[in-house]
Symmetry: C2
Subunit: 223 residues, 2 copies
């Protein structure tokens, strides 16, 4: 595994050096995300990232094992920044223990989060690196394992936790498996985004939430 | 676009030459699928496919523009063979105009087809070429367009047609969009298979069908 430059250098070194490390780390993330967006993942190299960030190649190799790892950590960092910004944009929305909005209205909370997810997936700053990471995850099984464990599952787990909390509140059927239920509205977004199998907009995510919660069958019935 | 060797040579040439063309085409498909399964897509070349199939490189280039195109048509052919075999394995199941089983019991029909899909996705003959095509589709936007249009959408459209027929029979809510409804049970299978986000078995596909049809909310209600 790579080191964790987000925290390690700051704890090990004197304040000035820590600030320089933090500046370098941020410059490397920005360079990696920028290059992948501009010239694509295949043509992005560690050398190119180092040159644009104004650091030596050794600085990058000290913290990361490959360009895929640099990009993955840059992307995780971008996601964290975005999550903080999203929370700041919805100051009135209570956040539950799951980390997702928890107003007590499950449908409204899910719609809010899924709309924001679709906006993020189509934001040019996110789209190129996210697609590059997903493609690398299909081509390289070992990288895929880290990508899924570090980037994808933590996001999916937020939904599972929100559904579990709704289940405990009696809003979901007691016999449903929250991970399967989560896939009903998360996976369709992933597939439309990854494979372009249909339009990906707010009307679509709203429908997914309604269909998953209330079912598509004509007569409400227990199976 | 590539030529369509499945039919064109047979119409243009004398019977013996047509038989030879058909034999070559089949040998090329088998070689492409076999090599991708054994040595992986990146190391598979047109030269390697030609050598294993016992044909000249020119024969391949006359019909296809790239190894990705050869593999895509080989895979479409494999799917067609498999669909015929599946129909032969379920001789008692009536097939509707949609091309999917149509016994009148939507839940049972969907469970049958989704179980077979999961079995196919995990069949080693399918898995390596299908993953290679999906990865190529993420890395190359132009290839992705053909992959989605020729391979993915025709499969998805079968489900949409089956849901439309159920809707006309009054079994689905009149106001639902069949393409969104289809994604509720097809996309979760795609994501678990592509990204390994959870177990992919018959219990899972059965749950997807039940949740999508009857909803996960505790009290049946209209939104």
């Amino acid at each position: 595994m790579s080191a964790t430059p987000a925290s390690t250098p700051a704890k090990k070194t004197a304040p000035d050096a820590a600030r320089r490390s933090e500046r370098s780390r941020r410059a490397i993330y920005d360079a990696a995300l920028g290059l992948v967006g501009e010239i694509g993942y295949p043509r992005t190299t560690i050398e190119g990232i180092a040159a644009r960030a104004g650091v030596g190649k050794q600085t990058i190799y000290r913290w990361w094992g490959s360009k895929a790892e640099v990009l993955m950590e840059a992307f995780i960092d971008l996601n964290e920044q975005n999550a903080r910004a999203a929370a700041a944009n919805h100051p009135g929305v209570p956040v539950g223990a799951s980390g997702l909005p928890d107003t007590g209205d499950l449908a409204a909370d899910l719609k809010l989060v899924l709309r924001a997810t679709v906006d993020e997936l189509q934001d040019p700053r996110f789209e190129a690196p996210a697609r590059a990471l997903a493609a690398e995850g299909l081509a390289d099984r070992e990288f895929a394992e880290g990508f899924v464990r570090r980037l994808l599952m933590p996001g999916l787990d937020l939904y599972t936790a929100r559904l579990r909390s709704a289940q405990e509140a009696g809003q979901l059927r007691a016999d449903i498996d929250p991970e399967t239920a989560r896939d009903l509205f998360v996976s369709p977004i992933a597939q439309r985004w990854l494979q372009g199998t249909g339009p990906l907009d707010h009307a679509y995510t709203d429908r997914l939430v309604e269909y998953a919660l209330y079912g598509i069958a004509a007569r409400p019935a227990t199976p």
